[in-house]
Symmetry: C2
Subunit: 250 residues, 2 copies
DNA sequence: AGCTCATGTAAAAGCCGTTCACATGAGCTG
DNA sequence: CAGCTCATGTGAACGGCTTTTACATGAGCT
């Protein structure tokens, strides 16, 4: 039966027993280290303890391995965004910002996935499954934006949810890509990438007319997760929390 | 003299005569076609009509060629941004948006440069010259943000210019990277990347309290018209966008 | 005319991706 | 249990790429 197989193969043997998974894990590690461009099919095989030809029993070629990783990445990504959105609880704005932070957290904590997904140069739309997975992930942001758009203050024109979603996505990706990873992360920033993105989103939402100051009196039951100084009593002039969304900037 | 050399070498001869430049041009074409990852040192040599070893007389290795291209790219980029900024004429907001469009135009029109600069995985901060060139380009955005920040409406807290610059950069890079190039450009968008970025920046600026509204009617968080700028005097430039920043969204 | 050095070439080593013929052995069948 | 079969792994080989090394060429100077 299969569990006995696992035991034996885990040690050694002609047949690996779980090569496909081992290769994916090895590749994930290598990509995290050296980037998708630097990752080598042969290296992954070596790491799994098999010959260089063995991987071809499980992947048509190097690109298919990369695509598999991207696919998994989009699925995990979707899961993380879904959890962060939490169907808009406790309030739409808070949940929305949580999604932004989840985006960055994913890019930071799963650099290999993020790399394969967005920076490997994979032809995403050439692979229907991959494209679908990508779309499912984006749809979380889209759905969140739709809920947010529905809250547009009376009198103000309601922004198209799709546009909002694209804007948020571009901000998150821009921050992740420029400041949150790799060498670029070493740029001297006046604030952390997380704070940078949070401020950016807050300012953007304010530009759309949304109330973004989350005081207890507002609809949020949640204390501001990041700024410690924001807990002080505040007389908020129309247009900002004390110090604004950039309270921490130097 | 040298012009005779040019003439002769352009035809044929043991010595190429201008190999370094020819290699750079060849690489530029190859990168535009197949991306920085797909670009091959040997291919560039072949395209220049020399042996595979010849490029090593002009570049330490493949990475140095890539760095050279990135370096040039940053210089051209800086030039374009500088021209677009035009020292803030005719007014700061208009010029600021022009910089955003110039950013996208560069990414679109010079995909090879953009690729080498931002998507090749080059260790930018390992190369001082490259890092300096990158910083000079960013400083254009920074300077523009500084001018803009100085216009902060009275009453509203003045946003840190550095933060604004980073925000704008992340938006521009996000849009360029996700929607403006390669396969991702084929995503069905409700508007062009240029319009997307323009709306994004406008909404952002409005969130900071800047008067970005170019139509006479209502808006959400806009304070009274801002004092005229020092030289131009026009805070509401012509070329209005009816329907708000997303007037063109479908 | 002759020297010299930058610039080119050919050849070779080492790595990678990929293919192919062949080996192994896990699980089924009788 | 004997034997079959097919998924899975191996080794060898091909071509391509990067990089190094010894050698060739000829442009410009003296």
């Amino acid at each position: 039966m299969s569990w006995r197989k696992e035991e034996r193969r885990a040690e050694r043997g002609y047949h690996h027993g779980n090569l496909k998974e081992a290769l994916l894990q090895a590749a994930l590690g290598l990509i995290a280290e050296k980037g998708a461009a630097g990752f080598t099919f042969a290296d992954a095989a070596r790491m799994a303890g098999v010959s260089a030809a063995a991987p071809y029993r499980h992947f048509r070629d190097r690109d298919e391995l990369l695509s598999s990783i991207a696919q998994r990445g989009f699925e995990q990504f979707e899961g993380r965004l879904t959890a962060a959105w939490d169907d808009g609880r406790p309030d739409t704005v808070t949940a929305f910002e949580r999604v932004g932070r989840a985006y960055l957290a994913f890019a930071r904590e799963e650099p290999a996935f993020y790399n394969a997904m967005f920076e490997s140069g994979l032809p995403v739309d050439a692979n229907p499954a991959l494209q679908a997975a990508s779309e499912r992930a984006f749809n979380i942001i889209r759905a969140a934006a739709e809920r947010l758009a529905a809250l547009a203050p009376p009198g103000a024109p309601r922004p198209p949810a799709m546009m909002m979603a694209l804007h948020i996505w571009s901000m998150a990706h821009g921050v992740a890509s420029l400041f949150s990873r790799g060498d670029a992360a070493r740029r001297k920033l006046p604030m952390s990438p997380d704070e940078l993105l949070e401020a950016e989103v807050l300012i953007y939402l304010r530009g759309l007319g949304f109330p973004t100051d989350r005081r207890p009196s507002a609809k949020s039951a949640e204390p501001p997760p990041v700024p410690p100084e924001a807990s002080s009593g505040s007389s908020v002039p129309p247009g900002g929390t004390p110090g604004g969304p950039w309270g921490k900037a130097k």
